[in-house]
């Protein structure tokens, strides 16, 4: 595929490109543009600011850049933008990509290696793109006897589920795609999907090692779901709400980590298990069951599952930040006015930018903390895992619940803060 044919000539190549461009222009002018106009004639267009939002407004940007501001303002406040780009999927995917790079360099540093080094001029910064290109150009092998629709669909559902979880994370005041009243329950519901997807995929791939891996994923869910849920309960008690934004708002005086450190610890351990990261990577234990439920994955199917995994990592790190580390709360370090005496349309909001900054910073700190065990721990065994979950972590979680209850009923803490 990749090699050029023997009768390759550069002139022919350029000619074919010119020919292609010519035809594209012809088709666009004759077919696509009229089609757009016809559609625009019938579709009622929304108002952006005081003007009707039409494509012509974009063209007018060349003349007067300030005229596009209301359009951008309008666009970034739509649900679709929020779900797709900023607090939602694209932001999460960007952080996931950064996480992969950071993980590799961080682990390499700990292990006295260099890590990715040659792709990209600086310290292998383009390694991820290279890996993506490699994965996308690899053949996808589906084992015979596999459930083909499920086999193709599971990676997509995996990514979609991870994307859905990102929609619930509040990044800055007002900046959340879906500000649910039952946000934390919704996140638990979505996160509970992943082990089932692992089981689904292992069932679909009709092989023994994935099958055991899927069962192990299920056992991991069983071991850690209850401590995971219980460790978030003190926050609900303290903030009196199930809404994630309100949880952050109620931490304006102190982080809940101060009152619920044991819960935070339990939450951290459980999220490691939830993420199948190293002490708990039993479903992918390569020395026991080849690659666990990922054994039959190849090419882009593997790539999508990895993308979903790292997006999930972002979601859990962000959830930890939201629950225990005060979300976007932090000292105001950005100035109120970016450009002094600017009187035009306002797009820059100092509070929001500040919130995003602190949130991202804390999330990255948390991601580093989640990455750390991979460097220092071996894998755990499944009976120890279940034992740890049921005998130790549940008890620890309850201890913190009772501490918080005592604090509330003792009148030391009210939702307003310390008394």
């Amino acid at each position: 595929m990749a090699t050029a044919p023997k009768e390759f000539r550069f002139g022919n190549f350029v000619a074919s490109i010119v020919w292609l461009v010519f035809w594209i222009i012809i088709i666009v002018t004759l077919v696509v543009l009229p089609l757009i106009f016809v559609i625009l004639f019938y579709v009622p267009l929304p108002y952006a600011g005081d003007e009707v939002l039409t494509p012509y407004l974009f063209f007018s940007m060349m003349v007067d850049p300030t005229r596009t501001v209301p359009i951008i303002d309008f666009l970034i406040h739509t649900d679709l933008f929020r779900a797709a780009i900023f607090p939602g999927f694209a932001y999460a995917a960007f952080i996931a990509a950064a996480t992969i790079y950071i993980e590799r360099k961080f682990l390499a540093k700990m292990q006295l290696r260099t890590g990715p080094f040659y792709a990209g001029r600086f310290e292998g910064i383009l390694q991820l793109i290279a890996d993506g290109l490699k994965l996308i150009s690899k053949e996808v092998i589906i084992p015979s006897g596999a459930d083909k629709p499920l086999f193709w669909a599971t990676p997509i559902i995996f990514v979609a589920t991870a994307a859905a979880a990102t929609a619930l994370i509040p990044v800055a005041p007002g900046w959340v795609a879906s500000d649910l009243d039952v946000g934390i329950l919704a996140i638990f519901a979505i996160l509970g999907f992943f082990p089932l997807l692992a089981l689904l995929f292992s069932w679909a791939s009709n092989s023994k090692y994935p099958f055991i891996g899927g069962l192990r994923a299920l056992h991991q869910l069983i071991a850690f779901e209850i401590p995971f849920i219980l460790s978030a309960l003190p926050i609900v008690l303290l903030s009196g709400s199930l809404n994630l934004s309100e949880m952050v708002e109620s931490q304006y005086l102190f982080w809940f980590f101060a009152v619920a450190p044991i819960s935070a610890f339990v939450f951290y351990i459980s999220s490691l298990a939830e993420l199948e990261r190293v002490p708990f990577d039993l479903p992918e234990a390569e020395s026991e069951i080849v690659a666990g439920w990922l054994t039959e994955t190849s090419g882009m199917i593997y790539g999508l599952i990895q993308l979903g995994t790292y997006v999930k990592l972002y979601v859990l790190a962000a959830l930890f930040v939201v629950l225990f580390l005060g979300g976007w709360m932090g000292p105001q370090i950005f100035p109120q006015e970016l450009i002094p005496n600017y009187t035009g349309e306002k797009i820059y909001n100092a509070t929001v930018v500040n919130g995003i900054f602190w949130f991202t910073l804390k999330t990255f700190g948390m991601i580093m903390l989640i990455l750390l065990p991979r460097g220092i721990n071996p894998r755990i065994r499944i009976d120890i895992l279940l034992h740890t979950g049921w005998y130790k972590l549940i008890v620890l979680a309850f201890i913190n619940i009772f501490i918080v209850l005592t604090l509330i009923y003792g009148g030391i803490i009210t939702p307003g803060g310390l008394q």
């Binding site: 292990q111 006295l112 055991i212 991979r374 071996p378 894998r379 755990i380 065994r381 499944i382």
Partner: protein
């Protein structure tokens, strides 16, 4: 594992499991899953064993080595004593000095020669360095078998120190072809002693880090402690050797038991543990590495500064008719060569008795009744090198 479950398996498998016979009842057959571990398994190496799992427990195990059988013993009969050296070190390229060491000792007995004193010292140093290389490699694999990626990288990196020393000594990184009947191929280069001391001192500091991150790690302890108990009686019965034997409480080290060359002048202790579990089997090689550092220091200290390192043999030496059996302590235990000579320049029969081949006998014994998750920690703690076992 609970007591009841254990006993059930014990009674069932006590007699027959070791022989690899299948004793699972017909009615239970349908709920077992047959898994083959290897040859293309990240947890096996060039080796296959078929296991049957009942849920999380292994109920049957049948080792099937031979994927890298080269017929070294047959090949040796067609080459003369010197020419055998480069191919005999192929089974364990990470321990190639030791596997040619005992060959050289055996051939020297047949030829009736003795190595000059400086040659003996350099041989012993090369042997110790190479044992470090092997043990570090083994430790690296043990780390990654348990999912500890740092413990894969650190020993694999520190191994480079000893490889560097051996490169300076012999000229090749892994396949040294350094020991030869009559001594060693060449003298140590200038500055080797200082370099070696520097590296060994640095390595001793690194060993403390290994202990911190790996051996004292609670998760590692949980994975290995009380896993795969090989009692003293079983160890003797199965005839295991090397670190597996010493982990079962028997201080048996060829360097002490039957000192070859200069080892009777060296003051060192045989490292052993009495806990008999996987942890002991993983920890004894570590203790050996630490002791090996001491040995290297002593050897460097006592080594004569000059002298011959190799006897000048005739180009195609003929052995006296007879046979010899010589052993050295390799990274995997006793490594013996049994060589029969009929008076010609080629050996009549060469038998290599290797530690790996003896240790693998304990694998079914230990695996049956244990959990699937214990499989890597038991298997690789047996100090088994598939290529060496196959020869």
């Amino acid at each position: 594992m609970s007591k009841e479950y254990d006993r059930e398996f014990e009674t069932k498998f006590q007699e027959t499991t070791r022989l690899g016979l299948e004793v699972v009842k017909e009615s239970e057959e349908d709920r077992l899953m047959t898994l083959s571990v290897g040859p293309q398994h990240p947890g096996s190496g060039h080796f296959r064993f078929t296991i049957k799992v009942d849920g999380d427990y292994i109920v049957y195990c049948d080792p099937d080595p031979g994927y890298v059988h080269r017929g070294e013993e047959k090949m040796s009969e067609y080459r003369n004593f010197i020419q055998n050296i480069p191919h005999l070190e192929r089974p364990v390229i990470h321990d190639s000095t030791n596997i040619t060491y005992s060959y050289s000792l055996a051939v020297e007995e047949l030829l009736g020669i003795e190595v000059p004193r400086r040659g003996q010292f350099i041989r012993a140093i090369a042997s110790e360095l190479n044992r470090q290389v092997y043990t570090l490699y083994w430790l690296a694999i043990y780390g990654i078998f348990l999912g500890h990626s740092t413990m894969f990288m650190w020993p694999a990196g520190d191994r480079e120190l000893f490889i560097d020393l051996l490169t300076a000594l012999s000229g090749a990184r892994v396949t040294h072809a350094y020991n030869i009947p009559g001594g060693v191929r060449n003298d140590a280069p200038n500055g080797f002693k200082e370099k070696c001391l520097q590296y060994v001192k640095y390595f001793e500091k690194r060993l403390v880090e290994y202990e911190d991150i790996f051996y004292n790690n609670p998760l590692f302890r949980q994975r290995t402690e009380n896993v795969g108990i090989l009692t003293k009686e079983d160890a003797i019965n199965l005839g295991v050797t090397g670190s597996v034997l010493r982990a079962s409480g028997i201080p048996y080290d060829i360097r002490k038991v039957e000192p070859y060359d200069v080892y009777d002048e060296i003051d060192f202790k045989v490292q052993y543990m009495k806990t008999c579990d996987s942890f002991a089997r993983a920890y004894v090689p570590f203790l050996d590495m630490r002791e090996s550092c001491n040995i290297i220091k002593q050897l460097l200290d006592k080594m004569p500064d000059s002298g011959e390192v190799r006897l000048k043999l005739q180009s195609n030496p003929k052995g006296q008719p007879g046979e010899s059996y010589k052993r050295v302590e390799s990274g995997r235990g006793a490594l013996g060569y049994y060589i029969v000579s009929d008076g010609s320049p080629k050996p009549y029969r060469v038998k290599i008795s290797v530690g790996s081949f003896r240790n693998i006998l304990a694998l079914p014994h230990l695996l049956i009744g244990s959990k699937l998750g214990d499989m890597p920690s038991i298997y690789w703690a047996l100090n088994y090198w598939p290529v060496e076992a196959d020869r």
